[in-house]
Homo-oligomer: 273 residues x 2
């Protein structure tokens, strides 16, 4: 029996432990076009791994392959610790519903983040303060969009502003926070790494049929350092390199307001245009 | 029985079909520090998928998690078509040796690359011609390095040039070709996407213990268009954003000499420094 958590996001990503099979339910609060928002699906998988009794170390890499739309209602997570040594763990997670074919397939790496030489080569994307940036008035009906507070610094999508002669830029810089404030944790980072609008919407200045096919996020912070940041939003940038033959890429960065690179992410997505 | 193929790379990535289990052998010609070169392992997995009788469509995304060093000799590939529909296929591949724990875990997506609106936003990284660029005289003993012709346009590693006061740039731009010329195919692209030297070597100007943990490559071309390019080298760029707590990232692009973005790649790697 799932009990009500204090934040919608925690409700939406709740899981119940089993032996190798865990259970959860897709959330109508984070619904996208034809299924749950992929970021919340990824966060649910990550939550199950973090809460797993055999888990050791911090999340390092998570890849989620969205094989088929997840339906409303219950799902099972088949979780397998594929390989472990003293410093890292490799996991595989398969999401199914009612014993049907796999809907979501994920692999994850957890690692002991031991102190080392450190160098942040990427430059912090300077931005005007969150409080001075206007919230995005989303024209997108999907419920998940309403759960986030998007504040565009650059590259706000101009949807339906008449089809332009030349492709628009796919670059965006924006603040992302939960609409109801929630402290940023690893679950936020994985979810927010899929919370950019489709780059094709920016490039085409219109909504087109779109779906993330595969998402990969790397974590550049250990959980303890992330908790110590004590933040409720990230400064995020995303861009695309190419749209070709029905698929386009995206790569992005999630930064702490104080200037630490917390996560990098990339995805390949289907589009129809 | 494996028969000799005309190119070392094709020898190294050869597989023998089974039902769900395929067989191969790690190659001493493409050996790295503690196991086979990860690019060839990834290419072997991709070859098995491309040659699989159930395969349909072109490679779109491949993620390879290097769980443990692969030993010299035979290995098994447990190949599973996880989910398929009319336009895409999701695969999972597990590499084991002698029935032991999983050494390599991969997921792949294949897709019908239907004609669509197309836009290459990324800019071709201009470079002096391959023929005018000096081959890199590798100071790295690993045999796989000898199988490639690396020609640095920018960011040639200065290994052991005394430890610098400030971190060096992790950016490189280089031509990559097989030492013995071989037409670029999807197997080349996946292998070359792991053929950048560790970004930490560039940032530190020295070799340190290093290993790729997880690699993800997206293909931005269908196989037919790639074959039509008829090229034997790519112009490649790679960079890193951060090195922190024993792990660093890498992202890169592989371009045709004519200016088409063929693949993008990212990886997270362990280092000791």
């Amino acid at each position: 029996m799932l009990t009500k958590a204090p934040h919608l996001f925690d409700d939406a990503t709740q899981v119940t432990a089993g032996d190798s099979s865990w259970q959860g339910r897709s959330s109508e609060d984070y619904w996208a076009f034809v299924g749950p928002f992929g970021g919340v699906t990824a966060a649910t998988i990550l939550r199950a791994l973090i809460e797993h009794p055999q888990r050791s170390g911090d999340p390092l890499a998570l890849t989620v392959n969205y094989c088929a739309p997840v339906a409303q209602g219950a799902f099972d997570l088949d979780i397998r610790l594929v390989k472990a040594n003293r410093s890292s763990q490799h996991w595989s997670v398969e999401m199914t519903q009612g014993g049907a074919e796999i809907a979501t397939l994920a692999t994850a790496v957890f690692a002991e983040r031991r102190p080392s030489w450190s160098h942040q080569q990427a430059k912090f994307p300077q931005a005007i303060a969150f409080a001075q940036t206007l919230p995005y008035a989303a024209k997108i009906a999907a419920s998940w969009v309403k759960q986030y507070d998007f504040r565009f610094v650059e590259g706000e999508p101009k949807l339906g502003s008449s089809s332009p002669a030349a492709p628009g830029s796919a670059f965006s810089k924006l603040w992302i926070a939960d609409r109801a404030p929630r402290k940023i944790d690893a679950l936020s980072l994985i979810s927010m790494s899929d919370a950019f609008f489709g780059r094709i919407f920016h490039a085409r200045s219109e909504l087109v049929p779109f779906g993330t096919v595969s998402l990969t996020t790397y974590f550049h912070t250990d959980l303890e350092s992330l908790a110590a940041e004590d933040i409720t939003r990230v400064l995020a940038v995303a861009d695309a390199k190419i749209f070709n033959r029905s698929y386009g890429d995206q790569h992005g960065e999630l930064w702490s307001p104080g200037g630490r690179l917390l996560a990098t992410t990339t995805q390949i997505a289907y589009f129809k245009a």
